[in-house]
Amino acid sequence: MTSFTIEIDGRPVQARPGDTVLELARGQGIDIPTLCHDPRLEPAGCCRSCLVEIEGQRRLQPACTWKATPGLKVSTRSERIERHRRVLMSLYLADHPVDADGRPPESPDGNALRHLTEGMPLLDLDRIDSPRAGRPDDDNPYIRFDPARCILCARCTRYCDEVEAVNAIALTERGGATTIGTIGMTGLLHTSCELCGGCIDTCPTGALSEKKNADLDLAAAEVTRTTCNFCGVGCQVDLHVLDGRVVRVTSPPPGTTVNDGNLCVKGRFAFDFIHSEDRLTEPLVRGEDGRLHPTTWQDAIEKTAAGLLGVKRRHGPGSLGFISSSRCTGEENYLVQKLARAAFGTNDCHQCAAT
């Protein structure tokens, strides 16, 4: 592919066919504000935040959809662009809830409107408060939609279409009533939704949020990066911990790990088992009465070693079997086979899913 040069804010920038002005500008560290952009989605050009001046074009044009061509000249900063952004953001805010300080409310993942209007002198517009409908009776356990905070950037519906490809949600109604809807506005459990939660992940304003941890101070959570424990894809996940409990799971940003910002229903939401009341919390040994009784670690370990050694002494090492686990870590599997081979003298060691 032949590369060519374009100019952004007076700087020469190498480009290849298909590159967009937004990608190229961001590659140069030039910040262009966006609301409807997500690198996992086709550019939509619908939020109008990223408009820039392109030489030869009468109107401002969206940087996210504008493809580079040889000799293209782009300005990302000008009085005209500033004026456009101020009007645009003022319009967004007129149809968005505001806090006591008159600013858009925070959400666990921030609020792009709040961020983009930081320090911006806004116009004093009348409030619009469009009549977008929500689904207050949606009884799905994970995903909450607050229509007031929705800016109709359609990242959630495009994610549901382009990435997850189940099309459970879509833009419905028209005009000021346009909203994120489902078929017949039923709850997500009754749609093709697979509860992956990608819509929450991509939402820029917190209109979509998690029900599981709605009342918690997620900003105070400590985050640990680890690997998901379900299937073999190896998704990287961030565990958010409050008061010693995992309260939320998110993906690292798109473009950084094997899962590219995505998670499935199990990876994102199925973490309650960690703190289940049913977890085993103490070693148990079967007594004379045939029941399992709590005991000390020392006793349990001694009984384990003695029991296995007893079988070996009576019947030889071929009478022992060691079953390791594809759910446990590599180091633990290493130790099970070392235990079988070095401590008990048998190669009868296998794991549960040797397929």
């Binding site: 399992l292 070392k338 296998h350």
Partner: protein, 549 residues
């Protein structure tokens, strides 16, 4: 097959592929994030061919759905190769440089004509021809498979056949192509890598290779048994036969996951000593003499190795509950109590270092490196090696790769008058294996509270079944309850059931008949029948209450 048991290529390469041949994998449910890459390739215009007895979601999106009869994969793949050879579409240069035994393959597949294949597999001959042409003439064409290929009495034949197809067309050592088994568990790959295998020490070094053994004997300070051990299915047989009398079981619920568990339970009753180490009181604990509480993934450090050979970190985020401890600590204590001087490791990083020291394939991987560089894909023989994105660049690792032509052998158990339906089992999106984790979670439980059986509309009509009705599903080995789900996804004559429900265990029905090489059981094919329940006491039992447990 070509010298390494793993995905030849990488997950992020899928988005750039030009053709995907997905066989025996319900990717959207079992590997949702890999499926997203497939969907992405599909949007780019990549061709998609899905071979599966069920009209799964991917099949709906596919250019071609080859809805074969369960267990006829070898016929289908041989017929595809027949077409490729008949039309001269094979990669002659690759065959000449990197393979041997093409004449034997030619002799076998010659008899597998597409017309005859149509009769046996139920897949139209023209679709077989189209698949063959697309696959052979697309450079970046990848094969993706999982347990629909391996969980058969002829599972090894299935894998060999797919490997033959890859070699025949030279789809090896090329980005976005290759032969890609998608691993079902977070760390199946890593457990194999670490030597949790009766044949291999860590790093795929054979126990009967004197040189490898000498290396491990020197590091571990004890003489080691030179004879390969028994695979898990053989061990389960030995438990039933009374040859194995002591079991150490870590993190698996064999009573839920092994086939034909009724028989296995008798064997477990007769065993002398059983230890279970797990995070929950599972079904197998009923037979245990000692139960050891372990830490779950969020409570310990270590590594998991994913499907594309990527070694990634597991990091402790929270403390284990009560007295539960990380498995690695418990294992070290047991070894020492049994008189073996297991080193006092500071932590998993040191354990990994010992394994890497003994395994050339991972010698360049370490915890500190993963901290700074992120996941590393083996082979990675040196600390400066960047890891390997796709395998076999410039020819198979083992040098020349031999074609292993396979003849079709029918599945062990065929439907008959008494058990006229073919039952396959598998996993759903919402639950995971024994479901000890997912059935403690509201979403999956709301979506799928109870065991169900998918039945084609035609069979449902024939049996007079209504959607949502509770029935008995019976095989020669047992009977379980299930809710009827009438589904156009099913081929007439075939039914499907998930394996997740401990109160209605699909594995009371499955056969332990195993593959002749791996012993892997035929979870995908057994003969069954559906009986309507006339006793109203049973129909009230919808399992919902138990599911909330």
């Amino acid at each position: 097959m070509f010298g390494a048991g793993a995905m030849t290529n990488s997950i992020p390469e899928i988005r750039d592929t030009d053709m995907m041949f997905v066989i025996g994998s319900n990717t959207t449910e079992a590997h949702p994030i890999i499926a997203m890459e497939m969907k992405r390739a599909r949007r780019r215009g990549a061709k998609l061919v899905v071979a599966d007895p069920r009209r799964i979601w991917l099949a709906e999106q596919a250019d071609l759905h080859l809805q074969l009869r369960p267990g006829t994969d070898v016929w289908l793949i041989n017929a595809i190769m027949h077409v490729i050879l008949a039309e001269g579409l094979e990669d002659r240069e690759f065959i000449a440089r990197h393979t041997e035994g093409i004449d034997e393959l030619r002799a076998v597949v010659e008899r597998y004509t597409p017309e005859e294949a149509e009769r046996i597999t139920g897949v139209p001959a023209e679709d077989i021809r189209t698949t063959a042409r697309w696959y052979a003439t697309t450079r970046k064409a990848g094969i993706y498979y999982t347990l629909g290929i391996t969980e058969h009495t002829h599972g090894t034949d299935n894998v060999f056949s797919l490997a033959n197809l890859v070699l025949l067309t030279g789809h090896l050592g090329v980005p976005s192509a290759g032969l890609n088994p998608l691993r079902g568990q977070n760390n199946v790959q890593g457990a194999n890598d670490a030597g949790a295998s009766p044949i291999y020490y860590p790093g795929y070094q054979r126990v009967d290779d004197p040189e490898a053994r000498a290396r491990f004997e020197a590091e571990w300070g004890v003489p080691l048994d030179p004879t390969p051990g028994r695979t898990l299915p053989r061990m389960m047989e030995a438990v039933c036969d009374g040859d194995i009398k002591g079991l150490f079981i870590m993190g698996e619920d064999i009573v839920l996951s092994e086939p034909n568990v009724g028989k296995l339970e008798q064997g477990l009753n007769n065993a002398e000593f059983i230890v279970v180490q797990d995070i929950f009181m599972n079904e197998t604990c009923r037979f245990a003499d000692v139960v050891l509480p372990a830490a779950c993934f969020a409570e310990k450090d270590g590594v998991f190795t994913n499907s594309d050979r990527r070694v990634q970190r597991v990091r402790k985020a929270v403390d284990p509950p009560g007295q539960a401890r990380p498995d690695w600590e418990i294992l070290c204590d047991i070894a020492r109590a049994a008189g073996y001087p297991m080193p006092h490791y500071q932590g998993p990083a040191e354990i990994y270092a010992e394994m890497a020291r003994l395994s050339p394939k991972f010698a360049g991987i370490s915890h500190p490196r993963i901290e700074t560089e992120g996941g590393l894909q083996w082979p990675c023989p040196e600390p400066t090696h960047p890891g390997t994105r796709f395998l076999h660049e410039g020819g198979p690792i083992i040098g020349r790769s031999r074609f292993r032509p396979a003849e079709y052998r029918p599945s062990r158990e065929q439907p008959d008058a008494e058990y006229p339906l073919v039952l396959s089992t598998g996993r759903t999106l919402y639950h995971y294996n024994a479901a000890t984790q997912t059935r403690r979670e509201s979403g999956p439980v709301l979506k799928q509270p109870t065991n169900f059986v998918e039945v084609s509309p035609r069979d449902a009509r024939k049996l007079g079944l209504t959607d949502g009705e509770r029935v008995h599903v019976c095989s020669r080995r047992g009977t379980v309850h299930a809710t009827v789900m009438i589904s156009r996804r099913m081929r007439p004559g075939c039914i499907w059931m998930p394996l997740h429900f401990s109160e209605d265990r699909a594995n009371l029905l499955t056969t332990e008949a195993g593959d002749s090489v791996t012993g892997t059981a035929e979870y995908k094919v057994c003969a069954a029948r559906i009986e309507r329940i006339t006793d109203p006491a049973h129909t009230e039992d919808d399992g919902g209450a138990r599911a909330a447990r």
